[in-house]
Symmetry: C2
Subunit: 268 residues, 2 copies
């Protein structure tokens, strides 16, 4: 848990400037942007679906660690003063009947279709990349300035109400002698996916071709490196698709909401 009133002396300028640039129309993956500030996945659903989703998150906390839930009809969050959830993410996806209908840099028009939307902000593994880099572990998609590779696995989440679907994972290639360090460092951040769910053996979780991610970009895996998999906040989008949810707004994979909360606030 974070105690927000303890954070009022944090200088949040880098986070605010990043959000402003996205509000003005800039589109980019957010890994490495405003380092040290927690980034979040987002899924926005009509009030009628909110209990099902919150229960889905409670039952699948490693994939869907909830950082904040907005009141129905609101587009603000306690995680970032003055932010507008309709505009401050670089790229949105609009979903209709479980299908991707549109990508847009401004979700205001879609948001206006429903008066009672509830926004869920969900922890993102980018949070533990900073301490991993500080420990000397290279993050390949940061080095190569691309999006993190993400895969839809064959691992079912625990269903909740009308929602079901498989887990999505992000992958980072880690040198064999640093896998334990990567596991321990990320494990200190349980609110942002925590420790890996799977190490090596991608075929065991239904990944037939590691060079073809379902979301994001493929990255090099060098000799001596092992693919390490973390539960990913794109898992809700997989549930939207699998369950045929009538209407949802999400971030586009890798294009996150940047909060005012320092990563250290989520250190267990």
């Amino acid at each position: 848990m974070i105690a927000l009133d303890h954070l009022r002396h944090v200088n949040v300028e880098p986070a605010r400037l990043a959000r402003e640039s996205y509000r003005a129309g800039k589109i980019e993956p957010t890994s490495g942007i405003a380092p040290g500030f927690t980034q979040a996945n987002m899924i926005v659903l009509p009030r009628d679906w909110a209990f099902d989703f919150l229960l889905y998150a409670q039952r699948n906390p490693k994939a869907c660690p909830v950082l904040d839930v907005s009141d129905p009809g609101s587009h603000s969050t306690i995680l970032a003063a003055g932010a507008d959830l309709r505009k401050d993410i670089p790229l949105y996806r609009i979903w209709r009947d479980g299908k991707l209908a549109e990508e847009t840099a401004d979700a205001t028009a879609a948001w206006a279709e429903h008066p009672d939307l509830v926004s869920f902000l969900i922890g993102c593994s980018f949070t533990f990349e900073t301490p991993m880099v500080e420990a000397g572990i290279e993050i390949r998609h940061m080095t190569d300035k691309c999006n993190v590779p993400m895969y839809l696995t064959n691992q079912p989440c625990r269903p909740a109400g009308r929602l079901h679907g498989n887990m999505v994972v992000s992958m980072r290639p880690i040198p064999a002698n640093r896998v334990a360090d990567a596991a321990m460092i990320s494990g200190r951040f349980p609110s942002v996916h925590g420790s890996p769910v799977h190490v090596g053996a991608p075929e065991l979780i239904g990944i037939a071709d590691i060079s073809k991610p379902d979301f994001g970009d493929a990255v090099r895996i060098e000799p001596g490196e092992v693919p390490v998999f973390w539960a990913c906040g794109v898992t809700p989008q997989a549930a939207v698709m699998a369950s045929g949810v009538p209407f949802a707004i999400t971030h586009a994979p890798g294009h996150m909401f940047i909060t005012d909360i320092p990563d250290s606030a989520y250190h267990a």
Copy 2:
């Protein structure tokens, strides 16, 4: 998060026997019973209130760490095979319009009043008492074979929908030179209230007389001991009262649901 399929080789006989004795009518506080098995607070609400409560828990995770949520109309839980949530707690409270209407050892009749009840099982600080005792820290209410003292504070929880109320805390007197150990040991169990919310100075959280707890029994505080306060799973009952919830079933304070899950599963 616990991975339940990893636990199938645990011998759950002590937990099962305790639940059977309560189903047969035995009434006792459960601190120290079936040591090593996680105990849980319970609150049961009609489906119409379920989103408000799950959101209240999400917004107040230190007081309301959710371990499991049952499907509407169900009285089983993944945390204990074969358990019946209507009968397997030693003592229940039935609430009507925010007021305590009845205490009973069997909630079957009350449960039958609503077809769509949703049960929330919430972590209990009894879980970290075992490792504290193992570290040589005396737990006074265990020594004196009474119920843990609990207090309604003046600290408001973050509201959610129709639910609001103040935090309830449990108190354990700890020798001044072991307070740090008690904080660190309990801090390793974030799913069961985690580290203390307050140490010493009870008047600062609205406790006028430490010898008069609002729930449970008063305990001795010896010279050199400091009262240490943990967020308590009776907090939902305070919300039921403060918010005038029309109908709820809860455990009676200190009389918990004993699960089949080993305490170690909740070690961060």
